[in-house]
Symmetry: C2
């Protein structure tokens, strides 16, 4: 570095909601530290907002900083930070920013999972940086460790709780015994769930994050649409109670697995609720906290834990990226670009292996257990435990029993064929619930 | 990147012990992936060893790769990986490597804590990289998150279990009830402790790691010698039992704290055994696993967990650094250099605040509790709980009682003056044990 005063780094901020205002505030209050760490002053040249009339006097920035012309703003910055979310207009703005020579930092998981390669190609063409640590698991440094710290290792599995809303809902269902609808209403009242909670409760948000994690972990393009996705809206109070009986909790998990087996080399990426043992470290992840397990060939098991959402935590991740990108502006160099050389096939859910917890309402007569066991054996699914419970008073007058079967690990296709066979069996009155079991 | 075949990156490896041979093996077996991730072939041009006669046929490398001339080897490499440890000759070799234009990757915590600034200055003068993720907490990506991911945030505290040997010993003392000496002997037999366990059990290893963590977290030069250090050799079976009675475990903690108080702005860096509640996430860290908590202004609490030692886990960290450094060779740019601009004073242990668990053998007569309480009050130390236990049969014939006092948070100087006053008090027969309490 020379002794000449370094040219300021011009930063444009797109969006000024919870995350955007936290970013703006940190840019101002941490200015001296940022300058020392970057080697040049970092200057907030503009904040694009949709509603200029909104009162933002609590932010320590000149009112003239705000603009509604995002398209113009991105043409006069060295670094553009995007925290507006959604596909459009975010995509056009970021592509224009890069075409104008700006590096880009985004927290936009939906856009990255939908069209990441286009962003990477634009960054490459313009010779600029594309960073997005804040897009997955908020404040937790998880993308940089996967794409840099583990770059010499061979990642085998990523398993995490990456959505705070569903975690809050499942946690509350576990402690209160209440049903899904009731708990979501409560979460909405507390601000933990949005008015339209679909993206969270149906697993779209977690699926986008899983796609990003899998892309980096396995050096393969994975889109959100490639991810098997099952939300938590079908999780019942009975499922939670069944998990409790097993000393388990139900969590919405994002799972990315590298598979090498008879079904071929590839990767499995899925998001679904699953039982995990209460003793598992992920079981104690509460509220808006997130946690991600990473298993690599040489490193073994690693866990990362921290706040998965919120203005300040997300802003922390954005500012970390900002320092990295700004350093490149000052001292040269570029961060890692897209790494998709492995180009592994994304395998269908049928080939992934898991364990099932199946609760059945069966007739209470000799031979039923044998028939049920036969349905499993016919599909090569090995049973780990069977518990039978005969209700004291059968409401129907007919003798029924509740049968809970936990399987060993088997492929999804074998497990789901087994469940179909059970549902069609005359001995089975009802398949009460089916849930995957992970982490055991 | 161009279509021309990229020039190979020449890697020299210093040391071929547990970590070195894991690095060599990964360099060979992961060669195709490394080439794709770096953008050029990575070629192991030499391994410096002390004992060339040793059988290393299990390693998939050409025997001609081995050399005893480390000084010559470092002059013909683009990247030098040092895993021999200790101050000399590691320092001279790394300085020579950098003077000859090589970037350096080292796992040498002792050297970094002793003389990091000299290494950084040499890297800066030569325009090369200095990376050392493997020096702290093995496979856990902790340095890169602190120096890069949290670069825009304000780290307030780092608290971790960073030494596997002491963790194994304390863990075994907790489960077996055995004493320190006996457990160390057992750990040596199992390969968890070295023949001379001083560096581990007296906290030197953890202090070096604490110095590195504090330097990065607080942008201030901290040497191993600046770290307050208390090992575990004075931890008795009685201390462990006292911790159990409080539903706590004893762990050797490395603590780095940013303080802003009446005693001034500065940092506190210390390594000592402490009780932590059994419910605290660090309490369940077993054997050779490490875990590090980081608290930052905006990010909040983060935790990182994984294998803290061992050949493969440490090699994973080394190879991650290798990919980063090699990418710079191929695509330009340099990693972060030394950041010591904050230059905060390293405060003495007296100003740090903690809680104490004090077990006293006192006379069993009226007024004693009041005198003990007065000793605390006189030094402004607030008492949280007092428990008194009168043994059924006093061996001395005189009436004695055991008094356990747990304090609120106070400065070390006030706490230690209190303990001195208690030891001098005629009502106190013996100060049985004093232990810090953290994480509550």
């Amino acid at each position: 570095m020379t002794d000449e005063p370094a040219k300021p780094i011009r930063v444009a901020l797109l969006g000024c909601g919870v995350v955007g205002s936290a970013v703006a505030r940190m840019l101002v209050t941490n200015a001296a530290d940022l300058r020392a760490r970057v080697g040049a002053p970092v200057e907030l040249v503009g904040i694009a907002v949709r509603r200029p009339a909104k009162d933002r006097t609590d932010l320590p920035v000149d009112p003239a900083t705000f603009t509604t012309d995002a398209a113009e703003l991105v043409t006069r910055a060295d670094i553009v930070i995007e925290v507006i979310g959604g596909i459009d207009p975010a995509r056009e703005l970021l592509l224009s920013a890069m075409a104008h020579g700006a590096s880009v930092i985004t927290a936009n998981k939906a856009l990255l999972a939908e069209d990441g390669p286009t962003l990477y190609a634009a960054a490459d063409a313009a010779g600029v940086d594309l960073y997005y640590e804040a897009a997955v698991a908020g404040a937790i440094p998880i993308l940089r460790p996967i794409r840099e710290s583990l770059a010499g290792d061979d990642v085998r599995k990523v398993l995490g709780i990456v959505n705070g809303t569903t975690n809050f809902v499942l946690d509350k269902m576990d402690t209160s015994g209440a049903g899904f609808e009731e708990t979501v209403t409560q979460a909405q009242a507390l601000g933990y769930a949005e008015a339209d909670p679909t993206a969270d409760v149906e697993g779209f948000d977690a699926a986008a994050k899983a796609a990003i994690l899998a892309s980096l972990a396995f050096h393969t393009r994975v889109r959100g649409a490639d991810v098997f996705r099952e939300g938590i809206s079908d999780v019942t109070a009975a499922d939670i109670a069944a998990a409790k009986a097993m000393d388990c909790v139900v969590k919405l998990l994002a799972i990315c697995e590298r598979t090498t087996g008879p079904d071929g080399d590839g990767i499995n990426v899925r998001v679904h609720p699953a039982m995990i043992p209460r003793s598992h470290p992920l079981a104690s992840v509460r509220d808006a906290y997130n946690a991600v397990f990473v298993e690599a060939q040489a490193a073994g098991q690693l866990m990362f834990y921290g706040r998965g959402a919120g203005g300040d935590p997300t802003a922390s991740a954005v500012l970390g990226d900002l320092v990295a990108v700004a350093r490149h502006r000052v001292a040269g160099g570029r961060g890692p670009g897209e790494s998709a050389y492995a180009d592994l096939p994304v395998l269908g859910i049928g080939t992934s292996t898991t364990r099932y917890h199946i609760s059945l309402d069966v007739e209470d007569r000799p031979g039923v257990l044998a028939q049920v066991a036969q349905a499993f054996a016919a599909h090569d699914v090995s049973i780990e435990t069977v518990r039978q419970h005969i209700p004291a008073n059968s409401a129907t007058g007919q003798a029924h029993a509740n049968l809970v079967v936990v399987t060993h690990r088997a492929t999804e296709s074998a497990l789901s064929a087994t469940v179909d066979a059970l549902a069609a069996s005359p001995s089975v009155a009802e398949v009460v619930s089916v849930m995957r079991v992970e982490g055991a």
